[in-house]
């Protein structure tokens, strides 16, 4: 925005450079295609609202020490369970007199950490398994998909619980457990996409140029599967946050005194009737972030849908 007011000349030529139908370099072709997607996403107000919230979340996590009014760990038993707005506690204090707002701000780091690790790992595992199964077919397909089915047959949280209890409680193990339980749907999607792509003429064409299976999968099929996976991951984000919170709630995720949102709800459970804010505030935070991811996912679906862009 500031660009356009300061340098109107330059930015209008940049706009033309980005929206041209005749790009002159690889870089320009790629950038202009991204820019078009961005324009389309920008025209979707709900998605932009989601992006704004997530951007705020990242900034809050980044500047947590500056933003938090107090340390998330400092206890003040004299001021325990202070209601919101009283005694300098904007969102109130918890049973040990810690400032809930500060804990939420620091907790956003943990949430982001879990979410980004899972979002990176689970779809990649799914992509490998799904495209290999879909493209190679035969016994490889059968084996890989039956393994996927086994994972899908268990309720997510129960399976994660089993993994965590086997690996030991802690945030890294929680992440690992969530990844292990959430990759199968991505494998399913990737396989379905691959099945529709593998008989397309453009895959036949590259096959007839002598490309091997590995090259076809990684360089020609992956780029087409990734958009549906990105959409699915954004929509699943809320679920991932909730699973992490659920593990935290059951005491198997982040360990006290770490300000993980799920663990905070769990700690507030004892006081839910008399001191509603202790459990409600972290619940609201989870709700807002989940909503943001869902809105973004919906917007991305409109922009990235390969069926719409293929012609």
């Amino acid at each position: 925005m500031s660009m356009s007011t300061e340098l109107p000349q330059k930015s209008s030529s940049l706009y033309e450079w980005l929206t041209t139908d005749t790009p002159t370099s690889r870089k320009q072709a790629r950038l202009s295609s991204w820019y078009r997607s961005w324009l389309e996403l920008r025209s979707n107000p709900m998605a932009m609202f989601g992006i704004a919230i997530l951007l705020a979340l990242v900034l809050i996590a980044w500047f947590a020490p500056l933003l938090a009014p107090q340390s998330p760990f400092t206890q003040d038993l004299a001021a325990r369970l202070t209601p919101p707005g009283e005694g300098g506690y904007i969102l109130g204090s918890d049973s040990l007199g810690r400032d809930i707002l500060s804990r939420l701000i620091y907790g956003s780091r943990i949430t982001l950490y879990i979410v980004s690790l899972v979002a990176l790992m689970a779809p990649i595992v799914g992509l490998f398994v799904g495209t290999a199964a879909g493209y190679l077919g035969g016994w490889i397909d059968v084996t890989l998909m039956r393994i996927t089915d086994i994972f899908l047959a268990f309720p997510k949280l129960i399976l994660a619980l089993a993994f965590v209890s086997a690996l030991g409680a802690g945030i890294e193990n929680a992440v690992l457990a969530i990844v292990l339980t959430s990759w199968p749907p991505y494998a399913r999607i990737a396989r379905a996409e691959t099945l529709t792509i593998r008989n397309a003429d453009f895959i036949h064409a590259i096959k007839l140029q002598g490309a091997g299976a590995l090259r076809i999968i990684t360089r020609h099929i992956w780029p087409l599967c990734i958009s549906s996976l990105v959409i699915r991951v954004t929509l699943d984000m809320a679920g991932i946050i909730l699973t992490a919170a659920g593990l935290g709630f059951l005491g198997l995720g982040a360990q006290p005194p770490s300000p993980e949102w799920g663990a905070m709800i769990s700690a507030g459970r004892k006081f839910i009737l008399d001191h509603w804010w202790v459990a409600t505030m972290p619940g609201l935070a989870i709700f807002i972030v989940s909503l943001a991811f869902n809105l973004l996912g919906d917007g991305l679906r409109d922009v990235l849908d390969p069926k719409k862009n293929s012609k």
Partner: protein, 257 residues
């Protein structure tokens, strides 16, 4: 693989089928013909006649076949090596389906070159775009920024950039408007003369095949019912009743007046 002699493509007693046991469908039955090196041969038939399946059997896209297929004097087995793919290339029917939607023209062409270990990639791309009549400004465009005819030119460029000697053409103009069809057919004719290519062309349109090919095989229900020269075809000298029926249907459109 290149040989000085007369051998382009040869088929003898070729059967192609899909599925097994009760579900087996015989798509091509006992097909045989020979295309001399540098020649141009047409396969005509209606949908389901097995004409495209023959191309798929030659390229290995239809894995279940029996009989003898030879290319440039060498018999083909079940597997096709790099050597085969550098000699034989194919242009597909639907230019909207044969280009990867997320790859620029440049990427499509350089991928082909790198697969076959060519150097001077940049120069070759510039030259091939020129050869197929595309301006250099097309080099970094995405498929969705191209018209059907332009896409088909890119597909032809992709096939020819690795310098094959044989080009298989699967209805290369049936998805295009007639004025664009004329441009593409002229381009194919010019490239064949310039590069001494061998063409095997499949089409449902007798007039198109008659324009492009010197010898034509007519297919019906998986069988080659007649092979005739283009002179006989033009003189409407067909022996088989099915060929005559096809000729009637395509000439009658104009004769109605």
């Amino acid at each position: 693989m290149s040989q000085g002699n007369n051998a382009g493509i040869g088929l003898e007693h070729v059967n192609v089928w899909f599925g097994e046991h009760e579900e087996r469908v015989d798509a091509v039955k006992d097909a045989g013909f020979a295309v001399p090196f540098g020649g141009s041969f047409g396969l005509v038939g209606e949908s389901g006649s097995g004409k495209s399946t023959i191309l798929r059997a030659i390229t290995g896209l239809a894995p279940d076949w029996s009989g003898k297929i030879s290319v440039l004097g060498q018999d083909l087995g079940q597997d096709r090596g790099k050597e085969f793919y550098s000699a034989v290339q194919m242009v597909f029917q639907d230019p909207y389906a044969s280009l990867h939607p997320r790859q620029t023209v440049d990427r499509v062409l350089s991928e082909a070159l790198s697969l076959h270990g060519f150097d001077t990639i940049n120069d070759r791309i510039i030259k091939i775009l020129d050869d197929v009549g595309l301006d250099q400004s097309f080099r970094f465009r995405w498929p969705h920024q191209l018209s059907g005819g332009q896409r088909q030119r890119v597909a032809i460029a992709r096939a020819l950039i690795i310098e094959p000697t044989i080009l298989l053409l699967d209805e290369p103009t049936s998805a295009l408007d007639v004025s664009v069809q004329a441009e593409i057919l002229n381009l194919l004719t010019r490239l064949r003369t310039e590069r001494g290519l061998t063409y095997l062309m499949v089409s449902h349109d007798l007039a198109v095949v008659g324009h492009m090919c010197s010898e034509i095989a007519v297919m019906n229900d998986g069988e080659i019912v007649e092979v005739l020269s283009v002179e006989d075809l033009r003189a409407l000298k067909a022996n088989h009743p099915y060929t005559r029926q096809l000729l009637d249907a395509s000439v009658q459109k104009r004769k109605n007046e």
